[in-house]
């Protein structure tokens, strides 16, 4: 197991966190435990999918990002954003109005990242055609790539080693500006992210020394800023900024946006829990022969991104309508605007497995731990209540064999020990406070949570 903590984007605001179990139960990699009354994320396990943000009733999770104040440090200020951003706005705001609002906020150049999508399609197709391991799995969604690295290491070789649209778009933007004579340090590239996973991937790309972008903007923040300055009529024609945008680019991040290029020998799955089910079956050899498998962590693809504001289905609807006004990618000439050497830049570093779920690197020890887990499970109630601060009884047993938890962390066992006079009430209370914090068990009519969280 790796001891070095890897970078991940999602953080817990311990002031806001009230220590419930919503996030812990929603996490697909069992990366969350409750300690001292607040959620703690295991960085090695976290894939930044954002399900915890969605589940949190008090908005206690956040992702690190930059502010627009940093725009002032640059002469040329580039907004790079995925097309889904347009989709979240109500229909009354045209794409032109949104572009104008971005200019008002201080950006000098605006690029939707899916503009050079035909290059990406060509590159992925080449990879798929020559792939030794079928189906080739899309590398588009960073949460899925990380999920495969940790939970499905046998499938890492199926991932297409092609970079994401934002890498290409950043390269494109830099090229255009440098042709106009701008120096690199005069250009500020700001990526507007629809989710925590892309945040982490842009901030800390696999196999690269540094990120290509200068700033990361949270899409929710930008939405609010745009809504503050947007005007209800178009004053200038910004359509030339979108001349390279295509139908295929706009729908790329929606379900089947990638898979549609591989027709019937492809499949698209959205929602990380659905993805888990498909990958399990794929490992068992139960998935039919396919060329390409598109996997997206969020339901309805990036339209369901956690940093988007609109309803995901309305966003899909608007994007689909919008895409019909644009030409399809193959009819669009991209070669004249793409920087030289981009083909090499498209290739991402090979993806390595990350065995975070192994109990021990030493197999004899791992086997001993496994047996111990089995024995501990005989003692635990199997209710999976989460009162110990772990998502289920099995996870608690695993924590115990790793030395991170004790038998008395289980409230049911504790009750048994109390009855058997093995521990004192004072000790039992201290144990509970360890997971849930002090004063958590006092009556409090103003406490957060516990109300209106059902139907």
């Amino acid at each position: 197991m790796r001891k070095v903590e890897k970078y991940h984007a999602i953080k817990v605001d311990t002031e806001k966190c009230m220590g419930c179990t919503h996030c812990m139960k929603a996490c697909p990699t069992e990366a969350i435990r409750i300690k001292g009354g607040v959620a703690a994320i295991n960085a090695n396990r976290c894939v930044d999918c954002g399900n915890c943000l969605r589940a949190c009733p008090v908005n206690a999770f956040y992702v690190n990002h930059d502010t627009l104040e940093q725009l002032n440090n640059f002469k040329y200020r580039v907004a790079l954003f995925p097309s889904v951003m347009i989709g979240q706005f109500p229909d009354i705001y045209s794409e032109g109005m949104i572009y104008e609002a971005l200019m008002k906020l201080g950006f000098t150049h605006i690029f939707e990242v899916e503009q050079p999508i035909s290059l990406l399609i060509d590159s992925i197709t080449e990879n798929v055609n020559s792939a030794k391991n079928k189906p080739a799995i899309s590398s588009f969604c960073p949460a899925i790539v990380r999920l495969i690295q940790s939970r499905y290491p046998s499938l890492v070789d199926n991932i297409v080693p092609v970079k994401a649209p934002h890498d290409l778009a950043a390269c494109y933007a830099l090229d255009i500006l440098s042709k106009k004579g701008a120096a690199r340090d005069e250009i500020g590239i700001f990526y507007v992210s629809p989710c925590s996973a892309k945040m982490a991937a842009v901030k800390n790309p696999v196999g690269e020394a540094e990120s290509i972008v200068d700033g990361l903007i949270n899409m929710t923040d930008l939405y609010n800023l745009i809504m503050g300055v947007i005007s209800k009529e178009e004053k200038q024609d910004t359509s030339s900024l979108r001349k390279n945008l295509t139908h295929d680019g706009i729908v790329w991040s929606l379900p089947r946006g990638e898979a549609r290029h591989f027709k019937r020998k492809s499949m698209a799955v959205d929602g990380i829990h659905n993805v888990v089910k498909i990958l399990e079956r794929m490992e068992n050899g139960e998935v039919p022969e396919l060329d390409f498998l598109e996997l997206k962590s969020c339901h309805q693809g990036c339209s369901g991104g956690i940093l988007l504001t609109g309803n995901r289905f309305l966003t899909v609807e608007r994007l689909q309508k919008r895409s019909k006004r644009y030409a399809i990618a193959s009819q669009n000439e991209v070669s004249d605007f793409i920087c030289r050497g981009i083909k090499d830049k498209l290739r991402a570093a090979p993806i390595q497995p990350n065995y975070v779920f192994a109990l021990d690197t030493d197999r004899v020890k791992a086997l001993e731990k496994l047996q111990k887990v089995d024995r501990i499970l005989c003692q635990l109630p199997g209710i999976d209540c989460g009162s110990c601060g772990a998502p289920n009884c099995h996870a608690l047993a695993e924590d115990m064999v790793q030395g991170d938890a004790k038998m008395t962390d289980c409230i049911f066992l504790q009750n048994r020990y109390l009855n058997e006079n093995k521990i004192t009430v004072a000790k039992a209370t201290r144990n509970l406070e360890k997971a849930w914090g002090k004063k958590r068990f006092d009556a409090d009519c103003n406490k957060k949570g516990g109300r209106n969280e059902g139907f």
């Binding site: 046998s154 497995p353 791992a366």
Partner: protein
């Protein structure tokens, strides 16, 4: 360390339960992914065999530091000609089973391909015991 699973005859919806559970354990032991894949495919095939052809049975998985041993013991009807059953494409599966996408006669040959050691004992009217071993 061992795990046991009951396999019910005709319950295709549950075929794959044992292989999924065993896979989880193999991952916790950090077994080489390619080795896991072979083991899981072999177990899944074997599970389907018991579901499709037998009157039900039991799967036992034994783990040690060197490898895994799987034993599938069913309650009949037994295989009359084992050599024939081992041939690719040979199947006694009913039309109903074939319509469900099983019974192509690939089961036993596929298990053999994915295991390091394989033994099969069968007595008509009593049952079949399939044992295989894979090294980590």
């Amino acid at each position: 360390m061992n795990l046991e699973f009951d396999i019910v005859s005709g319950d295709f919806s549950m075929a794959g339960r044992a292989s999924s559970q065993i896979k989880k354990v193999l991952k916790q032991l950090q077994v080489e992914p390619k080795v896991i894949k072979r083991i899981v495919v072999a177990i899944y095939e074997a599970e389907v065999n018991v579901v499709a052809h037998s009157l039900g049975g039991k799967l036992t998985a034994l783990f040690d530091e060197k490898g895994i041993e799987i034993e599938l013991k069913d309650n009949g009807p037994g295989i009359a000609d084992i050599d024939l059953a081992m041939q690719t494409g040979y199947s006694t599966a009913s039309k109903q089973v074939r319509n469900m996408g099983f019974g192509a006669g690939m089961g036993l040959p596929n298990i053999k391909k994915n295991t390091d050691e394989l033994a099969i004992k069968s007595k008509v009217g009593v049952g079949t015991t399939l044992t295989f071993r894979n090294y980590f």
